[in-house]
Structure formats: structure tokens, C-alpha cells
């Protein structure tokens, strides 16, 4: 019996133990919901500066914030993460390569055995950069793309962005970087292109990643136009199940109700990791539960506070609250709740619906009325940080 990819393991399989010496271990997911002493991995946005202005940007990026962490502060954060044995940090932004000390931060992290993946629009990955990255250990690169063709992609990410991403991928391939990631956010307009994406990734020898669109950041405004329809949700559930080598960042577990009848669950832990096993550090050192809730409601502290990141992670009121067992609330009577756990708190928050109720994209349609009502009543929150540049999507990237 080989190692098993974690799926939704029924309680009965794990809680029994026949050996006197082996302790009966509660289901792993239940333990993780209670939080760990350190994140397993986390997202760290290095800068709010960005050369693009994607319509759904979850960090509302564009302009650098003057209070950005200095190089010294950033390297100190790396040291903290290394000391906590955070295994892996996902660097992003904005566009992380815009920071002049980007390579210093990356080198310092890998030097201290913290794996790095950075998420980029690829604009700055020229031949030289690609070769530099190919020579760097413990480094993974994720190129963002939101359409198989330039028209679909550029409608969301701006003119020239598709070409820049493809050029970056070509450069990485030419430099023999190895398996990089191509990451797309599934929208109403690109979900029909999944097979094409898979082929593109295969052609590059890259790994495909498909993630959920959340109504976060600038996504608050574009969500109604870009979110998947119910039939598209069914399609994507089936497609992900049929392509187990495609990564999802566990972002579709809100659709697990679609697998109830067949006993299927999407790969991943199928739980919200925010504040429990992952979190976000933003460019000015604010610590949020996850990258999709950049709002004061979900801000736990700042790495510049006494005690640094470790004390925010371990002692902040917000994270303590998130680690308490949650009530099923309005979802208690739904027999799919054990599969979907009520979905994503970020999606609920930014559509203005209750956090103890169904996900706005509840696959069974339980939130459809509430979402429409909240939108009509104008009670949808705005993100707390908005660094958007006052440019129209039709302008060329800077």
C-alpha cells in the first residue's frame, strides 16, 4: 500500500486504532482547523506596485505603497519564517519582480531552506532572468494567464499581457528551467478553454493550475460578470476530477456538494486554511487571514509589531477566533455541508452575505437569492487597501 493522496477520508477510517502504542489520532483536517504553531506555507505580497491593472486583481494593486517593508525588514521576515520552519512561501504582489531587492529576498529565502514560489505576470522574465532562475535551487515560478488566446486574456489583464506571459514561458523553457506553473483563474469566459490550457501546459512541460475566482480586491466589481454559471460549475467539477494532475490550490472545495452522490471529493484538504495553516503578509507588513480577505475585518496584526510575525500568528485575536470550531449556521440542515463546509469566507464576505451561511456560489443554489438581495441593497464591502492606478483598461501597461 503506497502513500495515499489525501482525499476526504471518512472519520471511521482514521479514528480507530488497534495498537496499544499507536494513539488514536483525530482526523487530520479537524486538527488543522484548530491551527498550527506556524503556517505550513503562506502568501507574501512583496509590493502593491504593478505594471498591469487586471480587472479582478485580488490585491487591488497598481501603485507602490510608501510604507512598504524595507529590504532589511523583508529579510528579517524571511528569517522569522525560516525559524518557524514555514516550508514554502508564495511571493506575489502586485508584480513582485518590480521590487529592486526581489532577487535578494528570493536568494535569502532559499538559502535558509524556505522554498519559494513566486507568482508573476512574466513581463520581466527576459532571457537573462530565466537563466538566473533556472540556476536557483528551491525555486518555483507561476505565470498568471487568464485566457488561452490573447483576446480572452487581455480582456481581463490588459493589452500585451498575454504576449508578455507567453514570452516569459518561452524564455523559461529555453533556459531549461524545468516544470514551472501556469495559473489561470477560471472565469465565465475562459472555462471552455480548459482543454486548450492543459495542452499548452503539456507542450511547455509545465504544470497547469486552475483556481477559483473570488470577489476580492477589484474582483468585487467584476465578479458578477466573471463568475461561473451553475452549469459551468458542474463542468469544472467534472473536469478537475478527470484531470488529477492539474493543481487547484484547493480553491474549489465549495463545489464538493456536486460529488455527494458519487462519493467524489476534489483533491486537497477541502478546508479553509485562512489563519489556521496559511495566511497573507502584505507589502506593508499587515497580516491577513488569507490573500482574498484584504479587509480590516480579517487583519490580524503587523509584522512590525512587537513579537513580529510569530506573535501575530500565535496570539492575534482574529486567528484565535478563526481556530475556534465554527457553527454550521444556516447550512446545518443541508446534507452537503460535510462535503463543502459552507465554502469560502472571503467569497461570502465580499458578496455581503452572512459568514455562517452558504457560499455565494453554493453549487445547490442556496445563496442565489441572498447574493442578489445584497447586491441590490448595496451592502457589499469594499477592500480596505486599494492601490489601483487611475488608468483605464485600454491603456498600455507601464
Amino acid at each position: 500500500m503506497t502513500a495515499i493522496q489525501s482525499t476526504h477520508t471518512p472519520l471511521s477510517l482514521i479514528s480507530k486504532s488497534a495498537s496499544a502504542k499507536t494513539q488514536a489520532v483525530p482526523p487530520l483536517v479537524e486538527q488543522l482547523k484548530g491551527g498550527l504553531d506556524a503556517p505550513i506555507c503562506l502568501t507574501w505580497e512583496l509590493t502593491y506596485a504593478c505594471n498591469l491593472a487586471c480587472v479582478h486583481c485580488l490585491s487591488s494593486s497598481g501603485r507602490r505603497d510608501p510604507k512598504e517593508l524595507s529590504t532589511a525588514e523583508a529579510l528579517a521576515v524571511v528569517d522569522e519564517l525560516a525559524d518557524l520552519q514555514v516550508f514554502y512561501v508564495n511571493l506575489g504582489g502586485g508584480e513582485p519582480m518590480i521590487r529592486k531587492d526581489f532577487l535578494d529576498i528570493v536568494d535569502h529565502a532559499v538559502g535558509r531552506n524556505v522554498g519559494v514560489k513566486f507568482s508573476t505576470n512574466g513581463y520581466y522574465i527576459d532571457q537573462a532572468a530565466a537563466e538566473r532562475f533556472a540556476a536557483t535551487d528551491l525555486l518555483d515560478i507561476q505565470i498568471s494567464l487568464d485566457g488561452f488566446d490573447a483576446a480572452t486574456n487581455d480582456a481581463v489583464r490588459g493589452p500585451g499581457s498575454w504576449e508578455a506571459a507567453r514570452r516569459a514561458m518561452d524564455n523559461l523553457a529555453a533556459a531549461d528551467f524545468g516544470e514551472f506553473k501556469i495559473s489561470i483563474v477560471a472565469t465565465r469566459h475562459n472555462v471552455a478553454q480548459l482543454d486548450d490550457y492543459k495542452q499548452m501546459a503539456d507542450d511547455y512541460g509545465a504544470q497547469l493550475r486552475v483556481t477559483r475566482l473570488r470577489p476580492s480586491g477589484r474582483g468585487v466589481d467584476s465578479y458578477q460578470d466573471l463568475r461561473l454559471t451553475h452549469p459551468q460549475q458542474q463542468d469544472i467539477f467534472r473536469w478537475i476530477m478527470d484531470h488529477p494532475d492539474v493543481l487547484t490550490g484547493d480553491s474549489f472545495f465549495h463545489l464538493n456538494a456536486l460529488g455527494k452522490e458519487t462519493g467524489e471529493t476534489l483533491p486537497g484538504l477541502s478546508m479553509c486554511g485562512a489563519g489556521r495553516i496559511v495566511c497573507l503578509i502584505d507589502p506593508i507588513g499587515d497580516v491577513y487571514a488569507c490573500p482574498f480577505v484584504i479587509h480590516d475585518e480579517f487583519m490580524a496584526g503587523n509584522v512590525r509589531d512587537t513579537g513580529g510575525f510569530a506573535s501575530v500568528w500565535r496570539e492575534s485575536d482574529l486567528f484565535r477566533e478563526l481556530r475556534e470550531p465554527g457553527a454550521a449556521g444556516a447550512c446545518a440542515s443541508c446534507n452537503a455541508y460535510d462535503a463543502c463546509g459552507g465554502g469560502c469566507m472571503a467569497a461570502k464576505f465580499f458578496t455581503g452575505i452572512p459568514l455562517d451561511g452558504p457560499d455565494p456560489d453554493c453549487a445547490l443554489g442556496h445563496a442565489d437569492e441572498a447574493v442578489a438581495a445584497a447586491a441590490a441593497a448595496g451592502v457589499v464591502p469594499q477592500p480596505s487597501q486599494d492601490h489601483s492606478r487611475p488608468v483605464r483598461l485600454g491603456s498600455k501597461p507601464a
Binding site: T43, F87, G249
Partner: protein, 36 residues
């Protein structure tokens, strides 16, 4: 411990029982929600 019956049944039973005691679980590093 349950009484053993014929060897074949025992083997199957034991295989199934061992499954209940899995001490190792693997997850993709990408299998955690809240990261991009």
C-alpha cells in the same frame, strides 16, 4: 484480536484493518486553500 478463520479471509481482513490505522497521509503542497 478477532479469531482467525481461513488464511485468505484473514489476509483480506487484515489488509482492511491496516487501512484503518494509516499513520501517514500525503497532501500536495498546493492542496491548502488560502494561498495563490
Amino acid at each position: 484480536m478477532e479469531p482467525k478463520t481461513d488464511p485468505q479471509t484473514t489476509a483480506v481482513e487484515e489488509e482492511a484493518l491496516v487501512e484503518e490505522e494509516l499513520l501517514v497521509e500525503e497532501i500536495s503542497i498546493d492542496g491548502m486553500c488560502g494561498v495563490y
